[in-house]
Subunit: 146 residues, 2 copies
Amino acid sequence: MDEFNERIDVLKTLKFIMNMIHKSMEDEFRELNITGPQGMIIGILMRHRKMKISELSKKMGLTSSTVSGIVDRLEKQGMVKRERSSDDRRVVYVNIDEEFRKKSKEVFKKVEDKFRDMMNKATEEEHDEIVKGLNTLKRLIESNKQ
Amino acid sequence: MDEFNERIDVLKTLKFIMNMIHKSMEDEFRELNITGPQGMIIGILMRHRKMKISELSKKMGLTSSTVSGIVDRLEKQGMVKRERSSDDRRVVYVNIDEEFRKKSKEVFKKVEDKFRDMMNKATEEEHDEIVKGLNTLKRLIESNKQ
DNA sequence: TGCAAATATTTCGGATACTAAATAATTATA
DNA sequence: TATAATTATTTAGTATCCGAAATATTTGCA
């Protein structure tokens, strides 16, 4: 295979891998009965417990009106709660409901376990190849971006 | 770094890479003044010239009613044309407008060139690492899926 | 041949997601 | 204190997305 095609294949392979991950994510969210954007917010709240609307917006690269709408729908289903800051009363904190947090944690864990199981099926050598290749690509992207 | 964390990092690194690619795609589509799903269809038509609605649906994993709607909006902007098959008059072919095809081709090419330029900045060794790592991961996913 | 079944697409209703602009409330500052 | 800046929400408009029903056409078969 010539050099040109090999380089395009990197893109194709990446797309294939992205597709598979995307599908896993969808399964994960379907199990929790939430949509993709809702799952993003839940995922962030799983690790931060309390987030401002503005922080969520920035983290997700969406406008705050969009986030406000998504939080509306999550709140209606009792998955998150809004809480006005007493410190600065313009600010709204979004909390994940404790019950839903536990349920989500299990589902997220299940997916991570599945990925880890898969990685564990690789030989030591394959594993090193994967880690090395991905990190090299990441470095390359980073050094190209600024 | 212990083994556990190394394996989680694979997921994180993948997410980072996916994010960067996603952003490039968005820029690409913004330049053509189309949305993500519209861009998917244009991308497919760039390589096939003529596609049935049902073929597009299957390729994109969407229902044909959804695809029909997206094609509606592309057609309204003159980017694609519908054409009834004379062979089987139930079938509708979607063609990309020749003018828009040329414009898109340039934009897509620009993005591919950018990616190729980036890959060309890697040393031969780095390049091999990337290709090898991605292909190993792909094989691992494939052997795990059925 | 004539009619039922199958196929391809469209239409419709209902939900989410997304943005920009307008609004409301609060805080910071000149 | 008057004004500017910040934070979140609401509103209006567009785009996805699905499933069910409608439409048009073709195919199978009695």
